[in-house]
């Protein structure tokens, strides 16, 4: 099926869950990724139980530090 992953049309295996998509897309540090599905941020505990459908829009949002230590 086709999804829109990070703005790009992407062919993926049919019926993937969000967790499986993270693996198939070779996301190296899934713990560092927040997932937005069709405009709503998905809680991490729902990654395994949420199945994706044709045409879904998925955004991987990465934790990013950087800057300077003030804490």
């Amino acid at each position: 099926m086709k999804l829109v992953v990070n703005g790009k049309e992407t062919d993926v295996t049919d019926g993937l869950t969000v967790s499986q998509l993270l693996i198939e897309q070779e996301v190296k540090m899934p713990d560092m990724v927040s997932v937005e599905l069709n405009g709503q941020v998905l809680r991490r505990h729902k990654f395994e139980s949420t199945a994706l459908n044709e045409g879904d829009k998925v955004e991987f949002l990465y934790f990013m530090g950087g800057g300077s230590g003030a804490e």
Partner: protein
């Protein structure tokens, strides 16, 4: 406040802009911006805000200038190695623009002091390098209702978002809580391109100025991501999250607390 002849001359290249003009310049001169972290992001942000005549600039940093900072933290010079970053930053700001009043805070931000630190500021620049600080700034700005620019950088990637607390998507709307300990790479481990910090820090300064002037469209409800290798800028639209633990409809966070988890192994490290 009335602009002096010298001020009119100094700021002429932005006063000439319709969106700024004399009234906007006066607004900038009476504005207060707090820069948290005088590092890769805070350095360019503070320099541009100072040059533009933001009247009061607060700088928070507990650290001292190290030789490894100089590759990207352009507010610090070789001669500053070993000095407090806040002192080094203050000296450069004063030398660029004596109109600016600089307040320095040589301290770490924590739940016990952050509210007091941000009170009275019109806008906050988050230039910190670690997730507990980023969550703390987000939460404190929410409770104190101070708008801020969040940003992060790593390697060749950077991202930022402007947050108007209670009105637009906040950091916790996107990232519920800090990542598990040990999984987050730091700039000292993964490296970072100096010019990338300059790009993102400058964008933060531009957002602060737009907010202070009340012009243009702020980068709210939108995460701007940038990859320097591909020279790819992307805007990701992000709606407010009704399940946000801070600003959602059923908030679980009702007061400030320090996040337990220490991000990366930065505590023993110098700076990112």
């Amino acid at each position: 406040m009335e602009l002096s002849e010298q001020q009119i001359e100094r700021y002429s290249r932005q006063i000439i802009l319709e969106e700024v003009d004399g009234a906007g310049q006066e607004k900038l001169l009476s504005s207060k911006v707090l820069v948290v972290g005088a590092g890769g992001l805070g350095a360019p942000a503070a320099l541009y805000l100072a040059a533009a005549g933001v009247g009061t600039i607060g700088i928070i940093d507990y650290d001292h200038v190290d030789i490894t900072n100089l590759q990207r933290q352009i507010i610090h010079n070789t001669a500053d190695i070993g000095t407090k970053k806040v002192d080094s930053a203050r000296d450069k700001i004063r030398s660029i623009n004596p109109d600016v009043m600089v307040r320095t805070y040589h301290t770490k931000v924590a739940a016990e002091n952050i509210s007091e630190l941000i009170q009275g500021y019109d806008f906050v620049i988050d230039g910190t390098d670690n997730f507990p600080a980023k969550f703390l700034i987000n939460d404190a700005c929410y409770f104190e209702k101070v708008p801020f620019s969040h940003a992060g950088i790593l390697g060749f990637d950077g991202q930022l978002i402007t947050i108007i607390p209670g009105e637009t998507t906040c950091y916790r709307c996107i990232f519920h809580s800090p990542p598990p300990e040990g999984v987050a790479p730091s700039c000292s481990q993964a490296g970072v391109l100096g010019a990338l910090a300059g790009v993102i820090g400058s964008l933060q300064a531009a957002e602060a100025m737009k907010y202070l002037l009340g012009v243009g469209d702020l980068l709210t409800n939108t995460l701007l991501t940038y990859n320097a290798l591909k020279m790819d800028f992307r805007k990701v639209r992000l709606n407010r999250n009704p399940n946000c633990p801070l600003c959602g409809s059923n908030p679980q966070i009702t007061k400030l607390k320090d996040e337990e988890q220490a991000v990366c192994d930065l505590k023993s490290d110098v700076n990112v």
